[in-house]
Symmetry: C2
DNA sequence: CGACACCTTGAAGAGGTTCAAGAAATGTGG
DNA sequence: CCACATTTCTTGAACCTCTTCAAGGTGTCG
């Protein structure tokens, strides 16, 4: 396990606004540096944690890209999310003190380790941190509601369009292009997340290309017509 | 709005083990009574809260049965869950300070109102309450992972079997039968939750009846062969 | 350069949806 | 308390979307 104990400081981190509450006093900011118990590098393909592992910390992504997935006893597999810089992983482990899903790096990554006991300790003292933790968990619940809507009521094209828009929007919030992206996951992983087979994902990409909505070269995607994607997700009602 | 301010006490509530942390000192128990800011009756068909409402409190169900659902702009609708006695609603509202889904009573119900500010206040002082709140949110996240697996990778029969087993298990934990239940929701609401059309739900019920697995008379369901349902959800792998 | 993982595309098939009609339960007003 | 309207549920038949199976192409890495 590749854990560094280099002293790291949220107060200097350029991802601060993504992970941490804003508007803290200098004093609280310095205290919040204490929630980070070190960093850990995770190479592409490696697990950050596995289903069944003892839960001890939340992880904030500094660099890299992850997927989280659950697998049922009979070998069914479901990607439950894709996570990028500034996002928090591990919330699933709190309820039973053990992780219930796997977190796998889809590219070389580095995460900040935040021992949960320390988070709880500090949240008891810093109101804004407490509320921030609650918001992060609530945000995850709301995100999953959106995925349920997608899986429960959208057709393949709608799912993929929604997926692309969501990815590019999150990347844009991190300073990347609004129209270009490099997929970090395979067609199969996209399919698992969207409740589709990889062939359907591939075919749907091809259809979007035929329709002049996107350009695809393997993992590279350029969005030519964002509005068309939006219209696919939300068909204009009469 | 039907809000009573009768002083109510978790310490005397027989649902305590479902809503609240266990193993509290008498003193903490008395303090926890303070999180409940009153009760509210909700008649069948009425909303407890709506998408867009200002978030101010979490709700613990005392009696009755709810559904929560989100609706996208274009009129798509998705039931995100069914909630029964002892379960907590409203977590979706924390992140944006406004609710993002609707909570509708499927039968006359009564809920305990727990102003969130008060919850946060008390969690800063009572460690076990703090951890309990975290667990409740984490449990919801894990539950939703399960729904994603169901929606993303199961077929109609598997979904309905999983749904019935889940319902009856939760009812059993509340002292009801392991084999009989009365559905509080329509076929359409079940379908929305499971990502199926109401006709498919109805047909699948009929198939289970033909196979001698369950007995159905409208909303009343008797499970004859629980193991058969389990085998449907988790096909024995070779 | 060869092995391997990943992606694309076609054709056939299955599972679920849609449309339609009728039956059963529930609620409402006289 | 009954008649009627409404909602809910069931079932059939045709259709459509997505899956499955199969084959070949592309890219990547040791």
């Amino acid at each position: 396990m590749n854990t560094h104990s280099i002293k790291v400081a949220c107060s200097n981190c350029n991802l601060r606004e993504l992970c941490m509450p804003v508007g803290l006093s200098d004093q609280d900011m310095r205290r919040i540096d204490e929630v980070v118990g070190g960093r850990r590098k995770v190479l592409r393909g490696e697990h950050l944690f596995r289903h069944g592992d003892k839960f001890s910390a939340l992880y904030a992504i500094r660099t890299g890209f992850f997927k989280t997935c659950i697998s049922s006893e009979d070998g069914r597999d479901q990607v439950t999310g894709f996570q990028m810089a500034g996002e928090i992983m591990g919330l699933d482990g709190i309820v039973s003190d053990h992780h219930t899903c796997d977190a796998v790096a889809l590219e070389d990554a580095e995460v900040c380790l935040m021992p949960f006991e320390r988070i709880e300790e500090l949240s008891r003292e810093i109101k804004s941190l407490q509320h921030h933790v609650h918001k992060i968990m609530s945000r995850e619940i709301v995100r999953e509601h959106g995925v349920m809507l997608l899986l429960g009521s959208m057709r393949a094209e709608e799912r993929l369009a929604a997926f692309l828009l969501n990815l590019v929007q999150r990347l844009h919030a991190r300073g990347f292009s609004q129209s270009e992206l490099v997929l970090r996951m395979t067609r199969e992983e996209i399919g698992s997340y969207l409740g589709l087979k990889l062939e359907t994902v591939s075919r749907t990409f091809s259809k979007f290309v035929d329709d002049g909505i996107i350009e695809v070269k393997q993992r590279y995607v350029r969005i030519i017509d964002t509005d068309a994607l939006r219209r696919i997700v939300t068909p204009a009602d009469c």
